[in-house]
Amino acid sequence: METYDPAAHYDRVTEAWGLLLGEELHYGLFTTGEEPLARATAALTEAMIDAARLGPGLSVLDVGCGSGAPACRLAQEHGVEVLGITTSAVGVGAATERARGLGLEGARFEQRDGTANELPDASFDRVWVMESSHLMPDREALVAECARVLRPGGRMVLCDLVRRREIPFLELRSRRREFAVLRAAFGAARMDPLSSYASLASAHGLQVDLERDITTETRPTFDRWLANAEAHRAEVTGILGEQSVAEFEESCRILEAFWDDGTLGYGILAAGKPA
């Protein structure tokens, strides 16, 4: 077992994960289950955009911005000014290059920790946390920071993997190999119930107006990721190695089982800061 370093983990796999997970590097929101992954990942981003109630000129903080694809899309299509933050220097570089390549001036990226971002109070109209919170163990610090940097009248939107039931210790013990495989493939994640995010948001002065379980709608994602692994096997094996690709594929099957037995799932939450 290794001590987990989120930045190093992310740096190592960024390129390969683009091939495995698709350009946007997150789950898809499927309507029919038949649509391609790229359309479904765009649909999840769209659901976040709708929840955020974006408008031209608003300032957006993207916490855990990855390679910057969602941030660039927000700047390009909605005329917002986005600051994307990530703990990964490589992520900042990749996202900056992406914005430069698109000729975007409204998207910039900095290396910062979402749980202690050191940005001024009340400095953003929107805070966007897309599938990054599960890698930030101090969940309360994350939500507190999001609430702190929001201006009155601002909104926080968040989507991520969630835990849908308590996992008793003896069950965790008996399934420890499955969880260890997930950690090897995706990093040391911790999933909390969607309701716990809502409770934290409320505790930090936000008013939750959207708390939606989208477990069913995200379930086809795993089929697509497995298909990507098959389609890009030579390339991703060259980057990650055979064992890591095998762990990724096993992780997809484990996650499918967790999705199906009600252990894990996916949720989206939105909350406003009173004006």
């Binding site: 003896l170 013990r173 969880f179 260890a180």
Partner: protein, 91 residues
Amino acid sequence: MTTSRRDQALAALQSFLTGAKKPADVDAATPLFADGLGLDSLETAELSAVLEDALGEDPFSAADEMPQTVGEVLDFYGASADAGESAAAAL
């Protein structure tokens, strides 16, 4: 002199901590979680299995309450060194 179950448990714990890249120079007061060894739930499950494999039972699965310190783990397998020596002398 045979190795006590407590000593076996300590050896298993230290081996686990070394494998997990955590400090193995622990004492009885070292907390298992948070600012101590910082074990997360999965690491705790793995330690539980390691101890059961080595000693046939473990305090995480058997006890009503989770041990919180290294000493509480070791106490599950026998009394402390001083008490153990007294017991051995009595035998």
